[in-house]
């Protein structure tokens, strides 16, 4: 069953076809009961609902964002809920919890919609501030129509509900010359070890029997990389995930062993973010490109054990991610990076040169996805890869031990520098469906330097900078 089919099945079982996401900024005032002054307040919210907004009904939504109260609070982890019911209940209610001075506070207020004053009633939010259920202040927030309306309207998105488990189902339908991969990379924060589990289905191009195989690798902080293969084994189609030679991938669970038990793993996986399509989403649904790559959940956490030789790692909420690849085979050259930047931010890069005649002469196409504060940049995956008919595309310089990606989109530009020291890198031989071989150099303990800059009044200013020492997951493939 394809992910597309799974999505449609989910829809027919009663789940709404699309959700709603929008951003809203409100400005206003707060007067604390024990003060005789008024403080300025700014509330920036990202609101998400599991269904499209129902103008005639009521929509419950979650909200996250930042609240700033002049001289008192600045909490970028404010969270809460909205009750959006402009007609049925004539009310748009906000309940946002945040922290100020170590106190847990709740803003509770609602816009009271009336046809007599449509603009005022839809933009003015009187509220009360509570601490542990007791009122400590009151205030009013206003949506500034003049400066925020266009931004507010442009922020509306109607994403499909995405179940990470649905993306684990095999894509292969019996065509010759295909390869499909389920892989997982994890960093154990306690020991600094990196883990790599690779599960692969290969359907040879000559039409011979497909086979499943894979490997596991551990990248200890001190000591050499340990690597072991399992399979090849006969491929038996699974409804959801991968299973061959004792290695299985199931929703929420990874288990198996390699080399007769030299490496054993049993991990529980908990998705912690929305799916992330490294390549355009359409290329995953309609396999028109030579291959497509995506993450069922941009971030996940792992609990369980990974034993290698005489040592057993016990993982507790270890960060990592699983990814999926489906296509005709490996690229001619490629580089890959998965970097968990902390605070829920993720950077995923695939830069590749195709094997197709003609395309192989092009420089690497860079698919770069930076998910920061819940938003993806660049907005569309095609933008860094293609630019504007080639102009402004992101560039990659593939080399070892250090490779780089640079690019500019809109008012932001990024520079990524990945270093894969040889002693932390594993060399693995890949076999394409057509029998050709590629060499992959993989490190789950790579270093990365990432700088994000923003154009501001005539110059570039650093907006964010990340430095990952041994926690980046990277790979470079060559022929």
């Amino acid at each position: 069953m394809s992910a597309d089919t799974a999505s449609r099945t989910a829809t027919s079982s009663g789940r709404p076809a699309r959700g709603t996401v929008f951003r809203e900024t409100m400005l206003g005032t707060l007067r604390l009961d024990d003060e005789d002054r008024i403080r300025r307040v700014r509330l920036d919210l990202r609101v998400g609902a599991d269904r499209s907004i129902r103008p005639l009904g009521t929509t419950e939504a979650r909200a996250t964002g930042r609240i700033r109260v002049a001289g008192w609070a600045d909490d970028s982890c404010a969270e809460g809920e909205l009750e959006i019911s402009p007609l049925a209940r004539r009310r748009i209610r906000y309940r946002i919890t945040f922290t100020a001075d170590g106190r847990r506070l709740t803003v509770d207020g609602w816009k009271s919609v009336t046809p007599r004053r449509p603009l005022t009633s839809m933009t003015v939010l009187p509220y009360t501030l509570y601490e542990a259920g007791a009122r400590i202040g009151t205030g009013t927030l206003r949506f500034p129509v003049g400066t925020q309306l266009l931004r507010f309207l442009a922020s509306f998105r109607f994403p499909r509900p995405q179940d990470p488990d649905a993306f684990l189902a095999p894509r292969w339908r019996g065509e010759p010359g295909r390869t499909e991969v389920w892989y997982t990379t994890v960093t154990d924060p306690d020991t600094g070890c990196g883990l790599w589990l690779h599960h692969e289905l290969t359907a040879p191009a000559d039409g011979s029997e497909p086979y499943a195989h894979g490997w596991a690798a551990v990248f200890p902080k001190h000591g050499p990389v340990r690597h072991a293969r399992f399979g090849p084994a006969r491929w038996t189609p699974e409804e959801s995930g991968f299973s061959a030679d004792g290695a299985t991938v199931r929703p929420g669970r990874l288990s198996g062993s390699a080399e007769g038990g030299a490496l054993r793993w049993d991990l529980a996986e908990r998705p912690a973010d929305e799916p992330l399509f490294t390549f355009p989403r359409w290329s995953w649904r309609r396999p028109l490109l030579p291959a497509a790559h995506m993450l069922p959940a941009a971030r996940a956490s792992y609990d369980g054990t990974f034993a290698h030789d005489d040592e057993t790692l016990t993982l507790t909420a270890a960060p990592g991610a699983s990814a999926r690849i489906y296509g005709h085979g490996n690229a001619r050259r490629w580089a890959w990076l998965h970097a968990d930047l902390g605070g829920g931010d993720i950077l995923e890069i695939v830069a590749a040169v195709s094997m197709r005649p003609g395309l192989r002469r092009l420089p690497p196409l860079v698919f770069l996805r930076l998910r920061r504060q819940g938003r993806n940049w660049p907005r569309r995956p095609e933008r860094p890869a293609l630019g504007w008919a080639g102009a402004g595309r992101f560039r990659a310089a593939l080399a070892l031990p250090t490779w780089t990606v640079t690019g500019r989109c809109g008012l932001r530009r990024i520079r990524v520098e990945v270093t894969q020291p040889a002693d932390r890198t594993l060399v693995v031989d890949y076999t394409d469906p057509d029998g050709r071989h590629a060499t992959c150099r993989n490190s789950e303990r790579a270093d990365a330097r990432i700088r994000l800059e923003r154009w501001w009044w005539g110059g570039w200013r650093t907006e964010a900078e990340w430095r990952l020492d041994g926690t980046a997951h990277a790979e470079v493939g060559t022929r």
Binding site: S85, R89, R90, W110, T128, R135, T138
Partner: protein, 610 residues
Amino acid sequence: MSLNGLVAALIADDGTAEWPQRVPVRLDTVLAKMPLLARVGVRTAAHAVDAYAMARTGRTLGPLTVPEREAVLAELAARPALLPLLDVLKVPVLLAAGTERMLQDGPAPRGLTPQDPPLDLTPAPAWAARSTADAVVIGSGAGGAMAARTLARAGLDVVVLEEGRHHSTESFGRRAPLDRFTELYRDGGASAAVGNPPLLLPVGRAVGGTTVVNSGTCYRTPGHVLDHWSKHLGFALADGFDRQLDEVERTLRVATQPTPVLGTNGRIALAGARELGWRAAPLRRNAPGCQGSCQCVVGCPTGAKQSVQLSVLPDACAAGARIVTDARVERILVDTDRPGGPRAAGVRVRRSDGGFEILAPLVVVAAGALQSPPLLRRSGLGRHPRLGRNLSVHPATSVAGRFAEPVTAWKGVLQSVGVEEHHTQGILIEATATPPGMGSFILPGLGGELRRELESADRLATLGAMIADRPSGRVLGRDRTLIRYDLDHRDADRLIRAVRAMGELLFAAGAEEVLTGIPRTPRARSLPELDAVLAGTSARRLHLSAYHPTGTVAAGASPQHFPADPEGRLRGVHGVLVTDASVLPSCPQVNPQLSIMAAALAIADAYLQE
């Protein structure tokens, strides 16, 4: 326009006393508190009288001499059709004149004023624009207070919304009765029912509702009424009313009024009943330690009367309830898209800055029988065809008896003695005296005659009678209340019989004459003469007022006939309880405070047991 001329003519201001000269100013103050229609009516009438004087004498009333004014009024009074209109005009003038005349004797001596029990009060302007609660109670009268206390004691976060203001016992003692009168009553006391005949229908508006201004008389709901409610109308909660009535009586400290403070008015009623062999006794009241100030109807100045703001609301506030004053509810908020049907979500309250809203899953409607139906209509909850109908009141009239010795009816208990001889026929006589001018009895005459009546008012004893009516009224309107009430034929007969019974009682007590209150035949010197007067008149010529409106959102078993179900829940919406006088299925036939409070207690208890 100045009312000096009209006032001077009506009370024959001859310049020999100072107090009549202060009456026009006082009258202006009274009129300012009255609704626009009443103000316009009085001023138009004054214009008309002045115009008549101008036509007859070439001058308006003001510049005329006393005899000339008398002559003008005598010409007007000679036209029988004008008498009822002139009587209506006399009501505010007598109100102002009575007060000024009383004040000439100096303010009443003030004793020590007890401290009121504490309440958690917040004026509406200081209330947050958005807040939440477990329950919102609309109205702080008898029903609202009892519901609030019951819910608060069960642990709910309760907010009570009151349209009026809070008045302390200390403020009652400090101000003249008339100043309090215009503030404590809706429309300055000029609320009226349109119909045949029109009825004055005063209702209180303050923290405590009408219990602040009632007489304190506490009758338990009669057994036959409870049987009727339970067996015929399906108001099943009436079955357990005895327990609730006991609880309410304990709360209000109800007891029989001790004889020493009854006052001469009450003792005359007792004497007359004794002479006739009628059943009569001092009333049971909620006023322990009553000192006979005779000011119940403008707020007890000694704090003896246990109005709910002194008895029930303090308990509610001690249990966590909060009261918002000056808060007129604009509408009940209803979530129409809830699973299972519409559900109340809270209330919106009017305020100068656009209003405030309180969200609560339970809304208790206790705005009174005259205000609850309009509130429900403007909230979109007034679709039941019987909502606002079934209005029952106690039509009442009063009669005065002139005695040789001073009675000074305004010294003693305001409503002191009940004569239940005719109660089985739906007539309840109660010895009722009020501060001068505030009663429903209108002194007869115009000019000099009226002045003489005013000067000798201390020799009058007054009795009032109220009758159990057939529900024949309706409450109309959404934003403004319009009351329509037509007196039933049976009730008209009862009123005439009530006047006759009161006259008989007064004559038996030794009255020299009885003032009937009928404009054309205001006096009767003997019982046969009274009979003759009554034989030629109809109830519509009496000065009627009405009290105790009930039944406009009646509870009962039949979904077609009762807007509320037998447990007081409004039909057609979830989360709305009705706990005021409007929920009573029919006329309780007695002063209804205990019945309302018992019903509120039963309904709130039933809700909590769900």
